[in-house]
Symmetry: D2
Subunit: 152 residues, 4 copies
């Protein structure tokens, strides 16, 4: 992952759009993209060797969202396959700022040129490492911090 | 409430259908009626003088769902006003079985005769009083049990 | 509403936090505040005499979210009563930018001084009026626009 | 799949429990298992060569849930890996009755013996093939019916 740069996301997951994600406008409900963003962040932390529940139980640490924003460019629809990625854009002692995106990689939507990909939603998410019991900010554990630094 | 009987629900709440509740089929997503059922149960317990969080913190008690079923007769749609009610049908030492319903009381749906009401979903829900820390069944607190008995 | 100004929200609703809104961190899940924001916007449009479904069916119009951001200051918890409000901060031909807030007005949370209120989440939401069938921006209907102008 | 029988599910998917799925009781929220059941049914239909959106758009057909019940035996928790399966138990002209289960295959939960699996939730779901535009029951398309018959 050391070679990653600003144009290349550090981590991504693929997911499918189900009925539960959509609304009666025929598209994915706008709040649900924040769920997709978090699934990606959770799998990213796990890929570094630690689950969120292990972090909470063993280290009394939790990553909480301090700020989140989303720009909605195009709607996702039922049955679409979406790629959700993230890229660290700022790394502090206890704070991490991430750029996240939702990209359609396959879908029934005719707008999508065959083989092409379309950025549907762009996100900017700031997470903070806090003591699980008090919600007070604490330093990101050294191992994570070092690993994150490599991917900035 | 003492006069309530099988044909008259003990407790009800009204709620509005928002985009978040619907899916791309244009109707309320089937799992979300279980959320509506629980909002009703929660307000019912509160109406008896106790919040779920007070129960958990002060008494280490929680009501968990052991079994739930729903019959879907007609769909609810965006902007509908729904009435959700409940009726105790069995009361044990630690178990309560409830009949629950979702009734449309106002809606844009043309099927609904002016002034009429329509049962959309019928539910049958069994809840059990458990120790919050262990999830083991315990007796429903005496005060609640006495109050519940009056409404069976 | 003509007298409203920047420090006074144009519209607000109150809502209760249920189990469905929380997560295993013991607080309201971060994406769900966007649901709360939308419930407020929907009731606001309704308070002006028009439901979202009527807008869609009669006028082929829908308000979609183009951009949303949320600053999370303090967590809301189970059983809290929250006030969600909105204030127009920019009004364009087809765009509206709103400041939204989630304020705790009653809760079991000991941090909340008796009688006091606490801003938990601040939001900034841009919505656009689009043709329901094409998702292309169109002018906000004249009646709405005039009413909105009074509340800016 | 022809060899499948009552003790062997016809189809299954694996999924991870995220924060969005849990509630402040520290476990998966009871309504969300119905979402898991549906993800499984959707992938099953897709595995037979047809997406739900293609069914709706090309054939004006939709599978709707007529009845669903769930027995909750043990709770799932954050980070658990769950297997969701289904088995046809009745096949009619337009109706299908399915047994569904949620099984924990990996988790942080200490109850789970190493290498063992634990049935958390059992479901019984009746779906009906309806005209998407009218919600009236219609015969399941011949191709699907024949395929389903093999797996009963």
């Amino acid at each position: 992952m050391k070679e990653s740069n600003c144009t290349q996301p550090s981590f991504s997951i693929d997911l499918r759009v189900y009925y539960e994600d959509t609304d009666s406008g025929g598209v994915v409900y706008y709040a649900n993209y924040l769920k997709f963003f978090e699934r990606c962040r959770t799998e990213w932390v796990r890929s570094l060797g630690c689950s969120q529940s292990a972090l909470a139980e063993t280290h009394d640490l939790v990553f909480v969202v301090r700020r989140a924003s989303a720009d909605y460019y195009k709607p996702a629809r039922l049955d679409d396959v979406l790629r959700v990625d993230l890229q660290i854009i700022e790394l502090g002692r206890s704070r991490i700022r991430l750029a996240q995106r939702v990209v359609r990689v396959d879908g029934v939507n005719s707008e999508l040129p065959s083989g092409g990909e379309s950025v549907l939603v762009g996100g900017d998410v700031e997470i903070v490492c806090v003591r699980a019991s008090t919600f007070k900010p604490v330093a990101i554990p050294a191992f994570f911090h070092a690993t994150f630094q490599e991917t900035v």
